[in-house]
């Protein structure tokens, strides 16, 4: 029960707004082949169990777990699908290894967002069917409500939110696994069309297609497979009430809890000092600031000012979303947490390329399941 768990292989495919050349199965297969090659494992003989994350409404297929084994090499093997974010899948795999049930476990997440013709309607289906949905409001309104109250209580201004967009899309220019790299000014971001005021269209991540596969192993196996394992030092997750009528709108208490759980496992007391960089949720620009505060990297209402000072820049004291984040790379639906974990792994291995950070040992990864949820997950990775 005390086994350490490492990520020993990563693979990816897609990361584009459209992927008409590949079925979702073929995209997953490309990511899987790359991950197995990276880990030097054969899925048919070496892998003990498979975990995928998928939401049936996103798949357009009921019981979507039926359609994942073949492209992963998981036919006639133990496998399950978690209806959650990629980090929930990672947490499930960690538990499978730590119980001693499995030595090697594969985690998969993907998005074929371009194939969902009515994505906003699908997202609206996450609203309460009796109390909220009959009002027929676009679900982005939940982000508008949250942003407005967050700015009101924290004293953060709209310029700070726009600065998140400028930073992340500039970072994306250095990262080939992105689609929305751009060199924008604050004014250009702020002048964009409104979506759900105070939230603007330019402050909202756009969906992309892609697949991510990771191979996890216990310590003994990990050391035999690779000389650069990336350890999962802590992983936590938490949900608040689903109610839009009675939740905290300015702060993210569920994320504070998820972070507390992960930090406790990793033995982290002062995250800003002990962690080197973070890949965190920026589905909406304000969400990055709100999450930075909930993760305990600074006090409530301080993230905006620190961001403007450059603390979270690529060359700042604590880089946040060096990859470009979801604003720069695009949003991978349920695979978003795995996407950000992938970016953290590449950084910790020193393989991030033009956006490589110097001398990094501890990474923080965080995800959110999007509007209207209060679902957060946090992982601490080390090399």
């Amino acid at each position: 029960m005390n086994e350490r768990v490492a990520i020993v292989g990563v693979g990816w495919a897609g990361f584009r707004p459209k992927t008409p050349d590949l079925s979702y199965k073929e995209m997953i297969y490309q990511a899987a082949v790359r991950a197995y090659h990276d880990a030097k494992v054969d899925p048919r003989t070496d892998v003990d169990s498979f975990v995928t994350v998928a939401e049936d409404f996103h798949e357009g297929t009921s019981i979507a777990d039926e359609y994942t084994p073949d492209q992963l090499g998981a036919v006639m093997k133990p496998m399950q699908t978690i209806t959650g974010d990629g980090l929930h899948g990672l947490a499930t795999a960690v538990m499978l290894v730590r119980t001693g049930l499995c030595r090697i476990v594969v985690v998969e997440g993907h998005s074929k967002a371009s194939n969902i013709l009515t994505l906003d309607s699908i997202t609206a289906y996450a609203q309460d069917p009796v109390l909220n949905r009959p009002l027929r409001l676009n679900t982005h309104m939940v982000a508008g409500l949250e942003m407005n109250r967050y700015l009101h209580e924290s004293g953060t201004d709209e310029e700070a939110c726009a600065a998140v967009v400028v930073k992340n899309r500039r970072n994306a220019l250095r990262n080939p696994l992105t689609s929305f790299g751009a060199d924008l000014t604050l004014d250009e971001v702020l002048a964009g069309p409104p979506l759900a005021w105070p939230l603007g269209v330019h402050q909202t991540a756009r969906p992309v297609d892609g697949a991510v596969v990771m191979v996890l192993a216990n310590e003994q196996v990990a050391r035999s497979l690779t000389d650069r394992p990336i350890w999962i030092a802590g992983i936590g997750w938490c949900n608040d009430t689903p109610s839009l009528e009675s939740r905290s709108w300015a702060t993210l208490p569920y994320l504070e809890q998820a972070a507390h759980m992960a930090y406790r496992q990793a033995g982290i007391r002062t995250p800003f000092e002990e962690i080197d960089f973070a890949e965190i949720d920026d589905t909406y620009a304000y969400k990055e600031l709100q999450s930075i505060e909930a993760l305990g990297l600074c006090g409530f209402g301080e993230a905006g000012a620190l961001l403007k000072e450059g603390v979270f820049d690529l060359d700042g004291a604590f880089p946040v979303n060096a990859s470009g984040g979801s604003l720069g790379a695009g949003h991978l639906l349920d695979a978003t947490g795995l996407h950000r974990a992938l970016e953290a792994v590449l950084q910790l291995r020193g393989e991030a390329g033009a956006h490589q950070l110097e001398d990094v040992q501890v990474a923080l990864v965080q995800s959110w399941r999007g509007v209207p949820t209060t679902s957060g997950a946090v992982a601490v990775l080390t090399n």
Binding site: D21, L22, Y24, E26, Y29, R44, S114, N115, S121, P134
Partner: protein, 177 residues
């Protein structure tokens, strides 16, 4: 209901109670539309059907021909790249007589779904696992006369009506021998 109870407990509801709004409910319908990229393997399969050809793919590692074609062999996880045209004849592996339609209407003349093992396709070694099958419907046959092991042939749409879809084959019918 056991003999101890003379009538059902609770208050009974009638259709009228719903119609007159005595019982409150919310009607809800999902707007979910998808456009599926068929990709390399299934895309080739559908393009084949439009030409009147059933394509499989061959795994040189397992030495098996499977239908529909795919980019990876699910049994050995090696890439598959060789397409193999198959004949449009085969053997009924299993079938059912279905007395309820897709949209839940009762019917007296059953639809006949069947799994057909195509001539030239493989079964998994020393098992009856079908590797090269097609799920389709049987027609031009008395439901009572359908048998496992029956030989059948595809009946195609006219070439100008084919769209690159599984429905380019209308159904399979028995081969008279």
């Amino acid at each position: 209901m056991t003999s101890r109870f003379k009538s059902f407990p609770g208050t009974s509801l009638s259709e009228e109670d719903f119609a007159q709004g005595e019982v409150l409910f919310v009607h809800d319908a999902l707007k979910a539309e998808y456009a599926r990229d068929t990709g390399v393997g299934i895309g080739a399969y559908l393009a084949g059907l439009r030409r009147g050809v059933i394509l499989g793919s061959y795994c040189s590692h397992c030495r098996k021909t499977v239908v529909p074609p795919r980019v990876v062999c699910e049994w050995c996880f090696r890439p598959m790249s060789e397409y193999v045209p198959l004949r449009d004849t085969g053997v009924v592996n299993t079938f059912s007589l279905c007395y309820v339609t897709w949209d839940v209407q009762r019917i007296s003349q059953p639809e006949i779904p069947a799994v057909i093992v195509l001539d030239g396709a493989s079964t998994l070694s020393e098992t009856s696992v079908v590797m090269g099958g097609i799920l389709h419907k049987l027609s031009e046959v008395d439901p009572k006369a359908v048998r496992i092991g029956m030989r059948v042939r595809a009946v195609w749409k006219p070439p100008e009506e084919r769209q690159g879809a599984i429905t380019d084959i209308l159904y399979f019918k028995p081969i008279e021998e």
